[in-house]
């Protein structure tokens, strides 16, 4: 009996030890065209979808940019009106989970961790409701939030929780919820940037908003397979298409250059001399600001 237990356990261990030893040889080429046919999106491999989910701008990056520009924290930017108890469908829950994740990133970067308890509580409720609460380490994140010296761990754990939820949803044929969560994160980050640029019209910030054109196709590809799922999805697809339409005439150009490398403190520092430049008029920026606010405000309304 003892021998059997040991034998079976070792076999299981060896099976796990050998998992994921694989190569990723298939390359995926993002389509250049403005429109993404549904059939194209449906052909996306799980690896390509995983890539896209990693591509979306992190709200932490937007919040960090704002902090670098000395933009003060503003509680009013947060989606405070979201009531986790009033979200009735999985669509609403997953989308709001994404929106609140972006808000959590903003709070963390500005070290307003004392104010994040409400957001954390809502995140836990939404995550539990779509059966992914086990990946959100609420107690540890809450503890770290109360101890400001652990910002590094807090950022790691918060982002890691979302990453695990995303992976779990995709691995368990619930890709539509993963797509909604990612879109929620992106939309809230975009909202934050576009609200701030109205008051602080900094070139770096407006460029970052214009550069979102680069990943808009990816967002649409994520949601496209579900656009005919039900009216909620159809409406969201239309909203994203409307945002994309506002980006149509924005031009991103590039100048060539070779990277410059040097050693420093045991590591390598590589400075890119190639540059990207955004061509966007004030009217185009205003159009993006307006459409983003209108869609985001509509989505956070409690039904």
């Amino acid at each position: 009996m003892k021998g059997k237990v040991i034998f079976i356990t070792l076999i299981v261990a060896l099976c796990f030890a050998c998992r994921n030893s694989s190569t990723k040889e298939n390359e995926f080429v993002f389509p250049e065209a403005d429109s993404v046919p549904v059939s194209e999106a449906e052909k996306l491999s799980p690896e390509a979808i995983a890539d896209i989910s990693k591509n979306i701008t992190s709200p932490v990056e937007i919040a960090n940019l704002l902090q670098t520009l000395n933009v003060p924290f503003n509680q009013e930017y947060l989606a405070g009106s979201i009531d986790a108890n009033k979200q009735s469908t999985s669509f609403d829950k997953a989308l709001k989970l994404g929106i609140l994740g972006a808000d959590l990133g903003y709070l963390n970067i500005y070290e307003r961790t004392g104010s994040s308890l409400d957001v954390l509580t809502s995140i836990r409720k939404l995550a539990d409701d779509i059966n992914v609460g086990q990946f959100f380490d609420f107690e540890t994140i809450k503890r770290l939030s109360q101890n400001k010296s652990n910002l590094d761990s807090l950022l790691f754990l918060s982002i890691d929780s979302y990453s695990k939820i995303d992976t779990y949803l995709r691995d368990n044929n619930r890709g539509q919820l993963s797509a909604l969560m990612i879109i929620g994160v992106w939309l809230e980050g975009q909202y934050l940037a576009t609200q701030v640029v109205k008051l602080y019209p900094d070139k770096k910030l407006s460029d970052r908003i214009g550069e979102q054109k680069i990943i808009l196709n990816d967002l649409l590809m994520l949601i496209n397979p579900y656009c005919n799922h039900d009216p909620e999805y159809t409406s969201l697809c239309n909203d994203l298409q409307n945002i994309k339409d506002r980006y149509r005439d924005i031009r991103i150009t590039y100048t060539q250059g070779e990277p410059v490398s040097k050693e420093k403190n045991g590591g390598l520092v590589v400075t890119q001399t190639e540059t990207s430049n955004v061509g966007m008029t004030k009217e185009q920026l205003n159009g993006i600001v307006e459409i983003t606010k209108s869609i985001r405000d509509k989505l956070i309304l409690n039904k």
């Binding site: 003892k2 237990v5 040991i6 356990t9 070792l10 299981v12 261990a13 060896l14 030890a17 050998c18 998992r19 994921n20 030893s21 694989s22 190569t23 990723k24 040889e25 390359e27 993002f30 995983a50 890539d51 990693k54 591509n55 979306i56 701008t57 992190s58 932490v60 990056e61 940019l65 670098t68 970067i109 590094d152 761990s153 950022l155 790691f156 982002i159 890691d160 990453s163 770096k204 460029d207 970052r208 550069e211 680069i214 990943i215 590039y254 990277p259 490398s261 050693e263 420093k264 045991g266 590591g267 390598l268 520092v269 590589v270 400075t271 890119q272 001399t273 190639e274 540059t275 990207s276």
Partner: protein, 144 residues
């Protein structure tokens, strides 16, 4: 006695399972090793075997969006038992190499700072020195 044997077996099993694999501890250690001025963005778990014919180098590929006016740090950490050091190469969307943590003199760097001036989607390629099998983690952070 039975309990002792069972506990021993479970402990051994856990040890075997974590050896040569990416654990959450390794991921958080690697993220924190980026330094106090670094803010964690994402990580990649790399687990590569040895190729069957010893000629093909197995490689993990992923993509990431990187943004202008941002300084990124790519930290590379090896799991216990890895055959070689983890190497990162980044290429842009024209397939031009932007950086590599392995230089032509054979030196490998544990981290690479990248001052990004061109926003776009980049391809990350992870492999182990000399095509060895191994496990590790690549962490992407922002630094001031």
């Amino acid at each position: 006695m039975n309990k002792f044997l069972l506990t021993l077996t479970v402990l051994l099993t856990a040890g075997i399972m974590s050896y040569g694999q990416v654990t959450d501890d390794l991921r958080s250690e690697c993220a924190l090793s980026a330094g106090s001025n670094a803010k964690f963005l994402k990580d990649f778990r790399i687990e590569l075997g040895k190729s069957a014919n010893n000629k093909t180098v197995l490689r993990y590929k992923a993509s990431i969006s990187l943004w202008k006016n941002t300084k990124y740090r790519f930290s590379l950490c090896n799991s216990q038992g890895s055959g070689g050091k983890l190497i990162l190469t980044i290429k842009d969307n024209s397939n031009r190499t932007v950086l590599s943590s392995y230089d032509t003199n054979g030196k490998t760097y544990p981290f690479v700072d990248f001052v990004c001036n061109k926003s776009g989607i980049y391809n990350l390629y992870f492999d182990f020195y000399d095509g060895h099998q191994g496990a590790g983690v690549g962490v992407v952070s922002m630094i001031r």
